[in-house]
Amino acid sequence: MTVSQTSFGSHEPVLDVQDLTVKYIGDSRSTTAVDRVSFSIGTGEVFGLAGESGCGKSTIANSIMRLLKDPAKIAAGSISFGGRDVLAMSPEELRRFRWQDVAMVFQSAMNSLNPVLTIGEQIVDIFTTHAGLSRKESLRRAGELLELVRIDPARLKSYPHQLSGGMRQRAVIAMAVALKPSLLILDEPTTALDVVVQQEIMAQIKELQRELGFSVLFITHDMSLMVELSHRMAVMYGGRIVETARAHDVYADPRHPYTQALMGAFPPLTGPRVTLSGLPDGVKFRNIPDLAEVAPGHLVAPFGAGDLSIAHGTQATDDEDAALEGAIR
């Protein structure tokens, strides 16, 4: 893990998102869910996107897959994948782009398996639809795929309800990598699972990633998990990226008060027991400016009074909250 930390493969980005803006357009007013977000993911790189529910993480994932539905509109910006403009793709191109180039594992994807088809039939579907293979060949490949995620190929004949949650999630991940995509989008892949299973799934993904060499866009709100898995990461708040850097830099030296609050929301498993404050109720950041570089590769959105931070290990008092609210405007 530490080895891959320093080299992210080639400099040619697999995915390049520039100034992406997504709006949910209502009758009387519209909301900007994603606001001028830019990032890129290199070959074989694991890029993490952290933030709370509603900050726009999943909207970004859905924009990349072009899965946004009606009230949501990509208002500005560009998404290019391996040099191709994703936003200009025709329906036929999109069909091939999805799953073959970019695959996505949704949150609680294990519940997205069809309950009336066996696991085998569902995997075979991918090969016959997207790769045009024969049924027999597809079935053989499906067996290999299950072995890849350490599920007995005999399980091809099982129905989803006969598998445990962890096995179903692994099956879904196997399906996602079936066509060897160059980018895998994982949207909270382990939120519904227990810690032990979560750890196994993440280890599995890391192993597959090493074997097949795809890039990963990893979306979660669990900062500890993200720091362990990602090379680089970005923290989102209210549709804006407030901080982006190498994962360990964000962990060791979070600069933005929101990042600090998010880090402070996860009690450590070692060391003395200190009081954490998390994000005080009612604190809002508004009009977040563009990112500025504070250290090589470490970009932070400038914030309020400059030296403002939520100190680790102290209880945020009402006064501090007020100061924070005031300073951030």
Binding site: D194, A203, S224, A265
Partner: protein, 378 residues
Amino acid sequence: MSHSMLSTSTGSGPARTDTPALEVRGLGKSFPIGGLFSRDSVRALHGVDLAIGRGEIVALVGESGSGKSTLARCVARLERPSEGSILLDGTDVLKRDRFQASRAFRSQLQMVFQDPFGSLNPAHRIGHFLRRSLAIHGKGGRSETETQARLEQLMDTVGLQADMLDSYPHELSGGQRQRVAIARALAVEPQVILADEPTSMLDVSVRIGVLNLMRRLRDEQGISMLYITHDLASARYLADRTAVMFAGELVEEGESLDLLANPAHPYTQLLVSAVPDPARAGSYDPVRRAELRQAVMASTSCAFDGDPDQPCSGDQPVRHQVGDPGNRHWVRCHLYRPRAGAGGHALAADPAAGPSADAGISVHAGPPASAHPRKASA
């Protein structure tokens, strides 16, 4: 212990300070499985002994299916235990009110549920929920002014604005709703609160706030709590003691800091090793994990082998002291593996084992561990 008006008005003698606020002895629960005429059952809980002192927070950790919530439901009397006793303030409540929980019981023990979105009726204002608790348990005072003052005091206690009493649940965030659920539990002035995963549905940044609130209630009002969670880090953060549940039995218990720093049971080690912690290097060591998993699935050696002071055998579960007695840290003998069919789907040794292996029926129920001395220091 600080005195507040909330903690003083419970009727049953608070003089016996050495009696645990809540004690569970040899609690067992099996659910019938199979068809109408089937006699098979699955054992969800077996021989659980757990005591929560006054003003103590005990965390119960384990994976889904390990029996944590079944224990909570039994203690809250939403489920009837198959065996064992539940002592609230020294009184056996299963004997006192045999068929269903009495109002007196409810006013001593309250629950906070996982889902604040589902536990508040969307058709009512926040004030309604608190008012109802007060009215049912007769804690509202004599006049409307007293009730109103009490409502405002409750809202203040949980860190909410009093004007939110007129809001509907949908106007509140998840964290605020969970605070309302806690206020509702507090309205009846309970001695014990059972909190079943109270933060797992909340946004990360407000979770700590709810945990801090629970800690403050304990500090200021001396309320005992059973905090049920699968998040070991939060258990360590909040709870004085932590008990680990595996397949319906407690396998290890101790002071939270000590337990998580020196886990003795392979299952606890497996849980601890699975928690992502960037501060700890090399937590993704597959070889070590495979060993742990093997140790959990089929223990063949015992860490206490050869110790003449420790009675050990494969069919007699024994509780061993771990480290300093002051830490009240014990572990169930490694050799003894709970045979309950319940739980632990995550621990199927290999995927080929199939789901039928999960439906095992308990045959060898060893005598409950309570036969063995357990050093309880105050």
